[in-house]
Protein backbone atom coordinates (compact mmCIF):
# COMPACT_ATOMS: atom_id res chain seq x y z
CA UNK A 1 0.00 0.00 0.00
CA UNK A 2 2.81 2.40 0.85
CA UNK A 3 4.26 1.92 -2.61
CA UNK A 4 1.12 2.85 -4.48
CA UNK A 5 0.55 5.74 -2.10
CA UNK A 6 3.94 7.13 -2.96
CA UNK A 7 2.93 7.02 -6.61
CA UNK A 8 -0.18 9.10 -5.93
CA UNK A 9 -0.05 12.71 -6.98
CA UNK A 10 -1.24 14.02 -3.61
CA UNK A 11 1.62 12.41 -1.69
CA UNK A 12 4.96 14.19 -1.86
CA UNK A 13 8.02 13.14 -3.81
CA UNK A 14 11.19 11.34 -2.76
CA UNK A 15 12.06 13.91 -0.06
CA UNK A 16 9.30 12.42 2.05
CA UNK A 17 10.73 8.92 2.08
CA UNK A 18 13.51 9.86 4.56
CA UNK A 19 11.00 11.38 6.93
CA UNK A 20 8.93 8.23 6.59
CA UNK A 21 11.94 6.05 7.38
CA UNK A 22 12.83 8.14 10.45
CA UNK A 23 9.27 7.99 11.69
CA UNK A 24 9.24 4.23 11.26
CA UNK A 25 12.45 3.88 13.25
CA UNK A 26 10.97 6.01 16.05
CA UNK A 27 7.82 3.88 16.15
CA UNK A 28 9.87 0.66 16.19
CA UNK A 29 12.09 1.93 19.01
CA UNK A 30 9.10 2.85 21.10
CA UNK A 31 7.53 -0.56 20.51
CA UNK A 32 10.75 -2.31 21.60
CA UNK A 33 10.94 -0.21 24.76
CA UNK A 34 7.36 -1.04 25.69
CA UNK A 35 8.01 -4.74 25.09
CA UNK A 36 11.04 -4.65 27.42
CA UNK A 37 8.90 -2.93 30.08
CA UNK A 38 6.19 -5.58 29.66
CA UNK A 39 8.65 -8.40 30.22
CA UNK A 40 10.29 -6.55 33.12
CA UNK A 41 7.00 -6.28 35.02
CA UNK A 42 6.54 -10.06 34.85
CA UNK A 43 10.12 -10.83 35.84
CA UNK A 44 10.05 -8.42 38.81
CA UNK A 45 6.76 -9.88 40.02
CA UNK A 46 8.00 -13.47 39.84
CA UNK A 47 11.32 -12.56 41.53
CA UNK A 48 9.52 -10.74 44.35
CA UNK A 49 7.21 -13.71 44.84
CA UNK A 50 10.12 -16.15 44.86
CA UNK A 51 12.09 -14.08 47.40
CA UNK A 52 9.06 -13.44 49.62
CA UNK A 53 8.00 -17.09 49.69
CA UNK A 54 9.34 -18.39 52.99
CA UNK A 55 10.49 -15.29 54.88
CA UNK A 56 7.33 -13.20 54.26
CA UNK A 57 4.54 -15.44 53.00
CA UNK A 58 3.68 -19.03 53.77
CA UNK A 59 4.64 -21.26 50.82
CA UNK A 60 2.06 -23.78 52.00
CA UNK A 61 -0.74 -21.44 50.92
CA UNK A 62 1.01 -19.45 48.20
CA UNK A 63 3.69 -21.78 46.85
CA UNK A 64 6.49 -20.15 44.82
CA UNK A 65 7.34 -19.69 41.14
CA UNK A 66 10.09 -22.28 41.39
CA UNK A 67 7.81 -24.93 42.82
CA UNK A 68 5.09 -24.14 40.29
CA UNK A 69 7.61 -24.42 37.46
CA UNK A 70 8.86 -27.73 38.88
CA UNK A 71 5.26 -28.95 39.03
CA UNK A 72 4.68 -28.05 35.39
CA UNK A 73 7.87 -29.84 34.35
CA UNK A 74 6.71 -32.83 36.35
CA UNK A 75 3.30 -32.83 34.61
CA UNK A 76 4.93 -32.60 31.23
CA UNK A 77 7.35 -35.46 32.04
CA UNK A 78 4.53 -37.68 33.11
CA UNK A 79 2.71 -36.78 29.92
CA UNK A 80 -0.46 -35.74 31.69
CA UNK A 81 -0.32 -31.98 31.05
CA UNK A 82 -1.18 -32.20 27.38
CA UNK A 83 -3.77 -34.86 27.99
CA UNK A 84 -5.65 -32.59 30.41
CA UNK A 85 -5.01 -29.49 28.36
CA UNK A 86 -6.34 -31.13 25.22
CA UNK A 87 -9.49 -32.20 27.06
CA UNK A 88 -10.21 -28.68 28.35
CA UNK A 89 -9.35 -27.04 25.05
CA UNK A 90 -11.56 -29.43 23.15
CA UNK A 91 -14.54 -28.73 25.42
CA UNK A 92 -13.89 -25.03 25.22
CA UNK A 93 -13.42 -24.86 21.45
CA UNK A 94 -16.44 -27.05 20.71
CA UNK A 95 -18.52 -24.86 23.02
CA UNK A 96 -17.07 -21.79 21.38
CA UNK A 97 -17.94 -22.99 17.89
CA UNK A 98 -21.43 -24.29 18.74
CA UNK A 99 -22.36 -21.29 20.91
CA UNK A 100 -20.79 -18.84 18.49
CA UNK A 101 -22.58 -20.26 15.43
CA UNK A 102 -25.94 -20.44 17.19
CA UNK A 103 -25.47 -16.94 18.58
CA UNK A 104 -24.61 -15.61 15.14
CA UNK A 105 -27.61 -17.21 13.44
CA UNK A 106 -30.13 -16.14 16.09
CA UNK A 107 -28.60 -12.67 16.38
CA UNK A 108 -28.76 -12.30 12.61
CA UNK A 109 -32.42 -13.39 12.44
CA UNK A 110 -33.45 -11.11 15.29
CA UNK A 111 -31.51 -8.22 13.82
CA UNK A 112 -33.18 -8.65 10.43
CA UNK A 113 -36.71 -9.39 11.63
CA UNK A 114 -37.92 -6.81 14.11
CA UNK A 115 -41.08 -8.66 15.03
CA UNK A 116 -39.09 -11.73 16.02
CA UNK A 117 -36.86 -9.63 18.29
CA UNK A 118 -39.84 -7.92 19.93
CA UNK A 119 -41.71 -11.17 20.55
CA UNK A 120 -38.76 -12.96 22.12
CA UNK A 121 -37.25 -9.99 23.92
CA UNK A 122 -38.70 -10.61 27.44
CA UNK A 123 -37.73 -14.29 27.32
CA UNK A 124 -34.22 -13.60 26.11
CA UNK A 125 -33.78 -10.96 28.80
CA UNK A 126 -35.02 -13.34 31.49
CA UNK A 127 -32.74 -16.12 30.32
CA UNK A 128 -29.82 -13.77 29.87
CA UNK A 129 -30.04 -12.52 33.45
CA UNK A 130 -29.74 -16.06 34.82
CA UNK A 131 -26.26 -16.89 36.10
CA UNK A 132 -25.38 -19.52 33.51
CA UNK A 133 -23.19 -21.31 36.04
CA UNK A 134 -26.38 -22.26 37.88
CA UNK A 135 -27.29 -24.41 34.88
CA UNK A 136 -24.26 -26.66 35.38
CA UNK A 137 -26.02 -29.21 37.64
CA UNK A 138 -28.86 -29.50 35.11
CA UNK A 139 -26.43 -29.93 32.25
CA UNK A 140 -24.65 -32.71 34.11
CA UNK A 141 -28.02 -34.37 34.60
CA UNK A 142 -28.90 -34.04 30.92
CA UNK A 143 -25.56 -34.62 29.25
CA UNK A 144 -23.78 -36.76 31.82
CA UNK A 145 -20.41 -36.21 33.45
CA UNK A 146 -18.52 -36.62 30.18
CA UNK A 147 -17.28 -33.88 27.90
CA UNK A 148 -20.77 -33.09 26.57
CA UNK A 149 -21.84 -31.22 29.70
CA UNK A 150 -18.67 -29.10 29.59
CA UNK A 151 -19.26 -28.27 25.94
CA UNK A 152 -22.85 -27.30 26.76
CA UNK A 153 -21.66 -25.04 29.58
CA UNK A 154 -19.17 -23.23 27.36
CA UNK A 155 -21.65 -23.04 24.48
CA UNK A 156 -24.49 -21.48 26.47
CA UNK A 157 -22.22 -18.72 27.80
CA UNK A 158 -20.69 -17.97 24.40
CA UNK A 159 -24.11 -18.05 22.76
CA UNK A 160 -25.42 -15.03 24.62
CA UNK A 161 -22.34 -12.92 24.12
CA UNK A 162 -22.16 -13.59 20.39
CA UNK A 163 -25.92 -13.35 20.00
CA UNK A 164 -26.15 -9.91 21.61
CA UNK A 165 -23.20 -8.56 19.62
CA UNK A 166 -24.42 -9.96 16.31
CA UNK A 167 -27.87 -8.55 16.98
CA UNK A 168 -26.47 -5.06 17.61
CA UNK A 169 -24.16 -5.37 14.61
CA UNK A 170 -26.95 -6.38 12.22
CA UNK A 171 -29.18 -3.57 13.51
CA UNK A 172 -26.30 -1.20 12.91
CA UNK A 173 -26.07 -1.96 9.17
CA UNK A 174 -26.63 1.23 7.20
CA UNK A 175 -29.83 1.48 5.17
CA UNK A 176 -27.91 3.49 2.57
CA UNK A 177 -25.57 0.55 1.96
CA UNK A 178 -28.42 -1.96 1.84
CA UNK A 179 -30.44 0.09 -0.64
CA UNK A 180 -27.39 0.80 -2.79
CA UNK A 181 -26.69 -2.93 -3.09
CA UNK A 182 -30.37 -3.66 -3.82
CA UNK A 183 -30.50 -1.10 -6.62
CA UNK A 184 -27.34 -2.65 -8.08
CA UNK A 185 -29.37 -5.84 -8.28
CA UNK A 186 -28.41 -7.73 -5.11
CA UNK A 187 -30.93 -10.37 -4.04
CA UNK A 188 -31.81 -10.68 -0.36
CA UNK A 189 -29.47 -13.64 0.12
CA UNK A 190 -26.63 -11.71 -1.52
CA UNK A 191 -27.11 -8.84 0.91
CA UNK A 192 -25.94 -11.08 3.74
CA UNK A 193 -22.57 -11.72 2.15
CA UNK A 194 -22.07 -8.33 0.53
CA UNK A 195 -23.34 -5.90 3.15
CA UNK A 196 -24.62 -7.38 6.39
CA UNK A 197 -21.86 -9.82 7.34
CA UNK A 198 -18.91 -7.50 6.64
CA UNK A 199 -20.68 -4.59 8.29
CA UNK A 200 -21.49 -6.61 11.41
CA UNK A 201 -18.04 -8.25 11.46
CA UNK A 202 -16.59 -5.73 13.89
CA UNK A 203 -19.38 -6.42 16.37
CA UNK A 204 -19.24 -10.17 15.92
CA UNK A 205 -15.47 -10.22 16.41
CA UNK A 206 -15.81 -8.10 19.55
CA UNK A 207 -18.34 -10.67 20.81
CA UNK A 208 -15.98 -13.55 20.00
CA UNK A 209 -13.12 -11.79 21.74
CA UNK A 210 -14.95 -11.37 25.03
CA UNK A 211 -16.32 -14.92 24.69
CA UNK A 212 -12.93 -16.61 24.90
CA UNK A 213 -12.38 -16.25 28.66
CA UNK A 214 -16.02 -17.10 29.23
CA UNK A 215 -15.83 -20.24 27.15
CA UNK A 216 -12.85 -21.21 29.29
CA UNK A 217 -14.88 -20.48 32.44
CA UNK A 218 -17.70 -22.67 31.15
CA UNK A 219 -15.43 -25.62 30.42
CA UNK A 220 -13.48 -25.32 33.69
CA UNK A 221 -16.58 -24.93 35.87
CA UNK A 222 -17.96 -28.06 34.25
CA UNK A 223 -14.75 -29.86 35.15
CA UNK A 224 -14.84 -28.57 38.73
CA UNK A 225 -18.27 -30.05 39.24
CA UNK A 226 -17.73 -33.50 37.93
CA UNK A 227 -14.83 -34.76 35.94
CA UNK A 228 -11.70 -36.81 36.10
CA UNK A 229 -9.95 -35.03 33.29
CA UNK A 230 -9.09 -31.49 32.23
CA UNK A 231 -7.17 -28.58 33.68
CA UNK A 232 -10.19 -27.64 35.80
CA UNK A 233 -10.12 -31.11 37.32
CA UNK A 234 -6.38 -30.78 37.97
CA UNK A 235 -6.87 -27.50 39.81
CA UNK A 236 -9.76 -28.84 41.88
CA UNK A 237 -7.84 -32.01 42.71
CA UNK A 238 -4.66 -30.11 43.67
CA UNK A 239 -6.60 -27.69 45.89
CA UNK A 240 -8.39 -30.45 47.70
CA UNK A 241 -5.05 -32.09 48.55
CA UNK A 242 -3.46 -28.78 49.63
CA UNK A 243 -1.14 -28.93 46.63
CA UNK A 244 -0.95 -25.15 46.06
CA UNK A 245 1.82 -25.44 43.47
CA UNK A 246 -0.44 -27.73 41.43
CA UNK A 247 -3.37 -25.31 41.64
CA UNK A 248 -1.19 -22.42 40.54
CA UNK A 249 0.32 -24.50 37.75
CA UNK A 250 -3.19 -25.20 36.42
CA UNK A 251 -4.07 -21.52 36.59
CA UNK A 252 -0.86 -20.66 34.81
CA UNK A 253 -1.68 -23.02 31.96
CA UNK A 254 -5.19 -21.54 31.63
CA UNK A 255 -3.75 -18.02 31.52
CA UNK A 256 -1.37 -19.00 28.71
CA UNK A 257 -4.24 -20.55 26.75
CA UNK A 258 -6.28 -17.36 27.18
CA UNK A 259 -3.42 -15.18 25.95
CA UNK A 260 -2.79 -17.36 22.89
CA UNK A 261 -6.45 -17.46 21.86
CA UNK A 262 -6.86 -13.71 22.31
CA UNK A 263 -3.81 -13.17 20.14
CA UNK A 264 -5.36 -15.32 17.40
CA UNK A 265 -8.63 -13.36 17.46
CA UNK A 266 -6.73 -10.07 17.49
CA UNK A 267 -4.76 -11.13 14.43
CA UNK A 268 -7.99 -12.14 12.67
CA UNK A 269 -9.49 -8.80 13.63
CA UNK A 270 -6.53 -6.90 12.22
CA UNK A 271 -6.89 -8.76 8.94
CA UNK A 272 -10.66 -8.56 8.60
CA UNK A 273 -10.96 -4.94 9.79
CA UNK A 274 -7.94 -3.71 7.85
CA UNK A 275 -10.10 -1.09 6.10
CA UNK A 276 -10.63 0.81 9.34
CA UNK A 277 -7.02 1.91 9.75
Amino acid sequence: MSISQAEGADVGGPSLSRAVAEEEIRVAQRRRLLLVAQVAVGVVFLLAWQLAAGPLIDPFFFSSPYEIGAKLVDWIRRGELFDHLFYTMYAMLMGFVIGGLAGFVVGFLFGRYDALATIFDPYITAFYSLPKIALAPLFIMWFGIGIESKIAMAAIIVFFLVFLNTYSGVRDVSAVHLNAARIMGAKEWQLLRIVIAPSAAAWVLAGLKVSIPYALIGAVVGEFMSSNRGIGFKIAQASSTFDTAGAFAGLFVLAIVGILLSAIIKAAERRILRWRS
Binding site: M1, S4, R182, W275
Partner: protein, 258 residues
Protein backbone atom coordinates in the same frame (compact mmCIF):
# COMPACT_ATOMS: atom_id res chain seq x y z
CA UNK B 1 -35.24 4.94 -21.12
CA UNK B 2 -38.07 7.36 -20.59
CA UNK B 3 -39.66 7.98 -17.22
CA UNK B 4 -43.23 9.13 -16.60
CA UNK B 5 -44.11 10.54 -13.21
CA UNK B 6 -47.90 10.47 -13.12
CA UNK B 7 -49.78 12.51 -10.51
CA UNK B 8 -47.50 11.29 -7.76
CA UNK B 9 -47.94 12.19 -4.09
CA UNK B 10 -45.97 11.15 -1.03
CA UNK B 11 -47.20 11.43 2.51
CA UNK B 12 -45.10 10.60 5.57
CA UNK B 13 -46.30 10.14 9.13
CA UNK B 14 -43.62 11.23 11.60
CA UNK B 15 -44.04 11.78 15.33
CA UNK B 16 -47.83 11.62 15.04
CA UNK B 17 -47.78 14.34 12.38
CA UNK B 18 -48.65 14.02 8.77
CA UNK B 19 -46.23 15.53 6.28
CA UNK B 20 -47.12 15.88 2.64
CA UNK B 21 -43.73 15.89 0.92
CA UNK B 22 -44.93 15.80 -2.69
CA UNK B 23 -48.38 16.59 -4.01
CA UNK B 24 -49.85 15.77 -7.40
CA UNK B 25 -46.59 15.93 -9.32
CA UNK B 26 -46.39 14.94 -12.98
CA UNK B 27 -43.26 14.99 -15.08
CA UNK B 28 -42.24 13.44 -18.35
CA UNK B 29 -38.56 12.61 -18.71
CA UNK B 30 -37.45 11.70 -22.20
CA UNK B 31 -35.00 9.02 -23.11
CA UNK B 32 -31.44 10.38 -23.20
CA UNK B 33 -32.45 13.61 -21.51
CA UNK B 34 -30.41 15.35 -18.83
CA UNK B 35 -32.92 16.83 -16.43
CA UNK B 36 -32.06 18.84 -13.31
CA UNK B 37 -34.33 19.28 -10.31
CA UNK B 38 -33.87 22.36 -8.12
CA UNK B 39 -35.90 23.72 -5.25
CA UNK B 40 -35.78 24.81 -1.62
CA UNK B 41 -34.57 22.22 0.87
CA UNK B 42 -37.26 19.83 1.97
CA UNK B 43 -39.25 20.24 -1.24
CA UNK B 44 -39.20 16.54 -2.00
CA UNK B 45 -36.53 16.38 -4.73
CA UNK B 46 -34.70 13.55 -3.00
CA UNK B 47 -38.02 11.92 -2.14
CA UNK B 48 -38.89 11.87 -5.84
CA UNK B 49 -35.52 10.26 -6.69
CA UNK B 50 -36.08 7.67 -3.98
CA UNK B 51 -39.46 6.91 -5.49
CA UNK B 52 -38.00 6.54 -8.99
CA UNK B 53 -35.38 4.23 -7.46
CA UNK B 54 -38.20 2.29 -5.85
CA UNK B 55 -36.85 2.68 -2.33
CA UNK B 56 -40.01 4.58 -1.39
CA UNK B 57 -43.45 3.80 -2.75
CA UNK B 58 -45.89 6.43 -3.95
CA UNK B 59 -48.83 7.35 -1.72
CA UNK B 60 -50.77 8.23 -4.85
CA UNK B 61 -50.07 8.14 -8.58
CA UNK B 62 -47.42 6.00 -10.23
CA UNK B 63 -44.03 6.09 -11.88
CA UNK B 64 -43.51 4.31 -15.17
CA UNK B 65 -40.14 3.57 -16.70
CA UNK B 66 -40.06 2.31 -20.29
CA UNK B 67 -43.69 1.35 -20.09
CA UNK B 68 -43.20 -0.66 -16.92
CA UNK B 69 -44.46 0.59 -13.58
CA UNK B 70 -41.82 0.94 -10.85
CA UNK B 71 -42.75 -1.42 -8.04
CA UNK B 72 -40.21 -2.26 -5.36
CA UNK B 73 -36.50 -1.60 -5.75
CA UNK B 74 -35.76 -0.43 -9.30
CA UNK B 75 -32.73 -2.26 -10.66
CA UNK B 76 -32.96 -0.51 -14.02
CA UNK B 77 -31.35 2.65 -12.66
CA UNK B 78 -28.00 3.63 -11.22
CA UNK B 79 -28.30 5.77 -8.13
CA UNK B 80 -25.61 8.08 -6.78
CA UNK B 81 -26.90 9.16 -3.40
CA UNK B 82 -26.00 12.24 -1.47
CA UNK B 83 -24.62 10.09 1.33
CA UNK B 84 -21.48 8.12 0.65
CA UNK B 85 -22.76 4.71 -0.38
CA UNK B 86 -19.37 3.07 -1.03
CA UNK B 87 -18.81 0.05 1.19
CA UNK B 88 -15.96 1.08 3.52
CA UNK B 89 -14.60 -2.47 3.88
CA UNK B 90 -14.12 -2.87 0.14
CA UNK B 91 -11.24 -1.34 -1.76
CA UNK B 92 -12.03 1.15 -4.51
CA UNK B 93 -11.79 -1.52 -7.21
CA UNK B 94 -13.88 -4.01 -5.24
CA UNK B 95 -16.52 -1.31 -4.89
CA UNK B 96 -16.48 -0.62 -8.61
CA UNK B 97 -16.92 -4.26 -9.54
CA UNK B 98 -19.56 -4.91 -6.88
CA UNK B 99 -22.47 -4.66 -9.34
CA UNK B 100 -20.61 -7.05 -11.68
CA UNK B 101 -19.97 -9.46 -8.81
CA UNK B 102 -23.69 -9.38 -8.03
CA UNK B 103 -24.32 -10.32 -11.66
CA UNK B 104 -21.80 -13.19 -11.49
CA UNK B 105 -19.50 -11.69 -14.10
CA UNK B 106 -16.26 -13.63 -14.29
CA UNK B 107 -13.32 -12.42 -12.23
CA UNK B 108 -11.22 -11.57 -15.24
CA UNK B 109 -13.93 -9.56 -16.97
CA UNK B 110 -14.64 -7.74 -13.73
CA UNK B 111 -11.00 -6.76 -13.31
CA UNK B 112 -10.70 -5.59 -16.92
CA UNK B 113 -13.84 -3.49 -16.84
CA UNK B 114 -12.90 -2.00 -13.46
CA UNK B 115 -9.47 -1.04 -14.73
CA UNK B 116 -11.01 0.78 -17.69
CA UNK B 117 -13.56 2.56 -15.49
CA UNK B 118 -10.98 3.69 -12.93
CA UNK B 119 -8.89 5.00 -15.78
CA UNK B 120 -11.90 6.88 -17.09
CA UNK B 121 -12.46 8.66 -13.77
CA UNK B 122 -8.71 9.31 -13.43
CA UNK B 123 -8.14 6.98 -10.53
CA UNK B 124 -5.72 4.46 -12.02
CA UNK B 125 -3.36 3.33 -9.27
CA UNK B 126 -5.91 3.90 -6.52
CA UNK B 127 -7.81 0.64 -7.00
CA UNK B 128 -6.36 -1.02 -3.91
CA UNK B 129 -7.13 1.91 -1.60
CA UNK B 130 -9.98 1.75 0.86
CA UNK B 131 -12.58 4.55 0.73
CA UNK B 132 -11.33 6.16 3.94
CA UNK B 133 -7.91 6.54 2.33
CA UNK B 134 -9.39 8.60 -0.51
CA UNK B 135 -10.48 12.23 -0.61
CA UNK B 136 -14.13 13.25 -0.95
CA UNK B 137 -13.74 13.95 -4.66
CA UNK B 138 -12.01 10.63 -5.27
CA UNK B 139 -14.79 8.78 -3.46
CA UNK B 140 -17.39 10.48 -5.64
CA UNK B 141 -15.45 9.39 -8.71
CA UNK B 142 -15.32 5.81 -7.45
CA UNK B 143 -19.09 5.98 -6.88
CA UNK B 144 -19.53 7.21 -10.44
CA UNK B 145 -17.37 4.41 -11.83
CA UNK B 146 -19.40 1.92 -9.79
CA UNK B 147 -22.70 3.18 -11.15
CA UNK B 148 -21.33 3.00 -14.70
CA UNK B 149 -19.94 -0.51 -14.23
CA UNK B 150 -23.25 -2.20 -14.92
CA UNK B 151 -24.28 0.34 -17.53
CA UNK B 152 -27.81 1.27 -16.43
CA UNK B 153 -29.72 3.32 -18.98
CA UNK B 154 -30.78 5.85 -16.37
CA UNK B 155 -28.68 7.64 -13.76
CA UNK B 156 -30.23 9.18 -10.67
CA UNK B 157 -27.88 11.65 -9.02
CA UNK B 158 -28.72 13.33 -5.72
CA UNK B 159 -26.46 16.33 -5.17
CA UNK B 160 -23.51 14.17 -6.16
CA UNK B 161 -21.04 17.05 -6.04
CA UNK B 162 -22.69 18.97 -3.22
CA UNK B 163 -19.93 18.36 -0.68
CA UNK B 164 -17.04 19.23 -3.01
CA UNK B 165 -15.17 22.52 -3.18
CA UNK B 166 -15.90 24.85 -6.11
CA UNK B 167 -12.91 23.87 -8.27
CA UNK B 168 -13.31 20.15 -7.81
CA UNK B 169 -17.00 20.49 -8.55
CA UNK B 170 -16.17 22.01 -11.94
CA UNK B 171 -13.77 19.17 -12.71
CA UNK B 172 -16.40 16.59 -11.81
CA UNK B 173 -19.06 18.39 -13.85
CA UNK B 174 -16.68 18.37 -16.79
CA UNK B 175 -16.12 14.64 -16.47
CA UNK B 176 -19.85 13.99 -16.15
CA UNK B 177 -20.61 16.15 -19.17
CA UNK B 178 -18.07 14.36 -21.38
CA UNK B 179 -19.39 11.03 -20.22
CA UNK B 180 -22.97 12.02 -20.93
CA UNK B 181 -22.11 13.37 -24.39
CA UNK B 182 -20.60 9.99 -25.15
CA UNK B 183 -23.25 7.71 -23.67
CA UNK B 184 -26.45 9.84 -23.74
CA UNK B 185 -27.92 8.18 -20.71
CA UNK B 186 -31.06 9.54 -19.14
CA UNK B 187 -29.91 11.57 -16.13
CA UNK B 188 -32.09 12.91 -13.31
CA UNK B 189 -29.87 15.28 -11.38
CA UNK B 190 -30.89 16.88 -8.08
CA UNK B 191 -28.92 19.94 -7.01
CA UNK B 192 -29.33 23.11 -4.98
CA UNK B 193 -26.83 24.88 -7.23
CA UNK B 194 -28.71 26.74 -9.94
CA UNK B 195 -25.60 27.42 -12.05
CA UNK B 196 -24.76 23.72 -11.97
CA UNK B 197 -28.29 22.84 -13.12
CA UNK B 198 -28.14 25.28 -16.06
CA UNK B 199 -24.61 24.19 -17.01
CA UNK B 200 -25.49 20.53 -17.27
CA UNK B 201 -29.15 20.08 -18.06
CA UNK B 202 -31.45 20.06 -21.08
CA UNK B 203 -34.31 21.11 -18.83
CA UNK B 204 -34.35 22.55 -15.31
CA UNK B 205 -37.37 21.83 -13.12
CA UNK B 206 -38.03 24.25 -10.24
CA UNK B 207 -39.94 22.77 -7.31
CA UNK B 208 -42.15 24.69 -4.92
CA UNK B 209 -41.61 24.49 -1.17
CA UNK B 210 -43.33 21.68 0.72
CA UNK B 211 -45.50 20.09 -0.48
CA UNK B 212 -43.36 19.78 -3.59
CA UNK B 213 -45.04 20.64 -6.87
CA UNK B 214 -43.59 21.82 -10.14
CA UNK B 215 -43.34 25.59 -10.28
CA UNK B 216 -41.53 26.04 -13.57
CA UNK B 217 -39.81 24.00 -16.26
CA UNK B 218 -37.13 25.83 -18.21
CA UNK B 219 -35.65 24.47 -21.40
CA UNK B 220 -31.93 25.25 -21.57
CA UNK B 221 -31.02 25.98 -25.17
CA UNK B 222 -27.31 26.63 -24.67
CA UNK B 223 -25.46 24.81 -27.46
CA UNK B 224 -23.79 21.46 -26.86
CA UNK B 225 -21.20 20.26 -26.27
CA UNK B 226 -20.89 22.69 -23.37
CA UNK B 227 -17.66 23.79 -21.77
CA UNK B 228 -18.52 23.69 -18.07
CA UNK B 229 -15.73 26.16 -17.27
CA UNK B 230 -16.98 28.86 -19.65
CA UNK B 231 -20.64 28.19 -20.26
CA UNK B 232 -21.64 30.71 -17.57
CA UNK B 233 -20.14 33.53 -19.65
CA UNK B 234 -22.10 32.62 -22.75
CA UNK B 235 -24.92 34.89 -23.93
CA UNK B 236 -28.23 33.67 -22.61
CA UNK B 237 -26.86 32.05 -19.42
CA UNK B 238 -27.46 35.10 -17.25
CA UNK B 239 -31.04 35.61 -18.48
CA UNK B 240 -31.93 31.99 -17.78
CA UNK B 241 -30.25 32.18 -14.40
CA UNK B 242 -32.24 35.28 -13.45
CA UNK B 243 -35.54 33.82 -14.60
CA UNK B 244 -34.97 30.62 -12.65
CA UNK B 245 -33.66 32.45 -9.62
CA UNK B 246 -36.79 34.59 -9.49
CA UNK B 247 -38.94 31.50 -9.48
CA UNK B 248 -36.75 29.85 -6.88
CA UNK B 249 -36.23 32.89 -4.65
CA UNK B 250 -39.93 33.28 -3.90
CA UNK B 251 -40.11 29.64 -2.79
CA UNK B 252 -37.01 29.91 -0.62
CA UNK B 253 -38.27 33.09 1.09
CA UNK B 254 -41.64 31.46 1.71
CA UNK B 255 -39.82 28.61 3.41
CA UNK B 256 -37.80 31.03 5.55
CA UNK B 257 -40.94 32.83 6.66
CA UNK B 258 -42.51 29.67 8.02
Amino acid sequence: MSIQVEAVAKRFVRNRREVLAIDNLSLEIESGEFIALVGPSGCGKSTLLNMIAGILDCTAGRIVQDGQEVRGVNTRVGYMTQADSLLPWRSAEANVWLPLEIRHVSRQQRAERTKALLEMVNLSGFGKHFPNELSGGMRKRVALAQVLAYDPGTLLMDEPFGALDAQLKLVMQDELMKLWERTRKTVVFVTHDLAEAITLADRVVVFTGRPGRIKLIEKITLPRPRDVFRVRFQPGFQEVFERLWQALEGEIRKGEAL
